[in-house]
Symmetry: none
Subunit: 184 residues, 4 copies
């Protein structure tokens, strides 16, 4: 059973992300990824130059979505309303397909930090913060703005020991996140 052109490439990305998010970057070996897909390790090297490149390719996706969001933000006046809209849009991104990516980034800092593209992601987060608060805002409010983003990132993880419905949880997380944006 042959695959459609570069179906394999997509499969590699999918499985890799799954495993990286679940077990961490270091603990996931190329052998493991290859075995899950029932191809050889060498096949991975046909599609990606290195292990790092697989991750870089995944980062790029997320990066693109973040960039698009920032593009939108650049066209907005930073008001409480537009800021809340920003949070809402970001929630949509990371509660959708970006969820696993996020988990990976959040729970594998030391690895992500020195991976190609890891620095960019951090810069992106910094840009988010800059849109969400004025430079002169009080320190607690600056923390709150960042916490707003983090709330979206972490809720799923922080509440994993409860048995609350995933959708309810996401809605509540968004509510809390919006609430952390200063009213002016």
């Amino acid at each position: 059973m042959t695959r459609r052109r570069s179906d394999t490439r997509e499969q590699i990305r999918r499985v890799a992300l799954e495993l990286f998010a679940e077990q961490g970057y270091e603990k996931t070996s190329l052998r493991e990824i290859a075995e899950r897909l029932d191809v050889t390790k060498a096949a991975l090297y046909y599609h990606f130059k290195t292990k790092e490149d697989i991750v870089a390719s995944l980062f790029a996706d997320f990066h693109a979505e973040a960039e698009e969001l920032l593009e939108w933000a650049r066209g907005q006046q930073p008001t409480p309303a537009s800021r809340r809209e920003f949070v809402r849009r970001y929630a949509e991104i990371i509660q959708g397909p970006g969820k696993e990516m996020l988990r990976f980034m959040q729970q594998n800092e030391p690895a992500v930090r020195d991976l190609k593209g890891g620095a960019d992601l951090r810069a992106r987060m910094q840009s988010f913060a800059e849109f969400l608060v004025d430079k002169e805002t009080s320190l607690p409010d600056q923390i709150r703005a960042r916490l707003s983003i983090l709330t979206l990132h972490m809720t799923h993880f922080a509440m994993r020991d409860t048995d609350i419905d995933e959708n309810e949880l996401q809605d509540a997380a968004l509510e809390v996140a919006l609430d952390l944006i200063p009213d002016e």
Copy 2:
């Protein structure tokens, strides 16, 4: 030149925590720890049975502090005031010597998760949450309570790209954390 009794053991723990927090558990090899201390790898094995046991020993310290805090909490009525006091006390723990431990735990989830004692730590967090909110509380407030703890954990990390003074930051983080505990 021999060291004082079990000085070495303490040094191993210190250096190990430093490196684990900085580079992650997997990326830190016993060779690296040994080299920093100018002893052989075998010396580490004289003091600890496995690499995992070094971490377990570090976890144990944190675990003990958390346990002490919970002991105190068990003697309290859960009121907004006592809950805030709880957060204050926890802040003292993790902004002190527990800071590196926290960073390690937060940024190396996949590794920590299957390390000896890792599960216990998570259970502890769960107990914290139980003291901080009533079961019937609204979902957003439940999230806020957990976020309160997370604020203390993450502020240093979330703000690392700014150049704000460490102490100011801790104070502001505590303020935000306290503010996330429901009023009534």
Copy 3:
């Protein structure tokens, strides 16, 4: 210079058996095997999952020959004649390619005992004994039957300090072995 397909695998088995028989399982390191073949240790791991698996693969061969012999035995009435034929056939196996395997098994009991497949081999020997003597036979004759097999196993070893020709020795060993099978 690459080798023919799976030539290497066969070479590993050959050299490993040689060394295991000569120096014992524990004393033979994978480094040593690799060096003799002028490949890296990692190459061994390409062909076998573990050191134990190399042995297991060797055991399997011997196991197969033993099984074939037992298959034949199952089709026979156990008479003095068929029993002697059994001993003759067994002699052929172990005086041929099985010789080194035998030496290894005989002289490395503690190691063999807990290797994958080691238990099976022992069970096989037990089955041999069952074909060679009736359950009600006198104890000395039961011992003799087992000794018959052992004679074939051990003669080479027990006589190694003499300078008798190998073939003469094998013939004499067979004669002694056959003589130990009760006449009825």
Copy 4:
């Protein structure tokens, strides 16, 4: 609780032999011996210069008993009767305290071979054979003589999968062994 003078030395020998016979020489570490006796590894080094020396000391005991037996043999005319008496006396040695030693020697050839004193033991066996058969005896009878000794060595081991009483087994083994000594 202190030990009597050099009680410890004896204990080390006892435990070491036990473990060497059970698990083999290589697989038995000094740590294991020390732990069983609840002393440190360094304590072993107070009593023996090396691991090999522990074995050498055990060999020496067996060696002495063998030497005594040979001393007796040297004073005898080699007749069928005296040869049978020799076998009887040897049986007494190795079915008594020498049993574990024998098991060790038999099942750890590669290790024993290069241990201090291992060569001597082999030479002793050679001397046994020389007393038991004339040089001009037929090859099969030479094999039988050696097999006679081997019978005593191996019976316990070769019959371990049956549930026959140990004493009965030893008696039967002696009977078979005696029977292997040529009549005239």
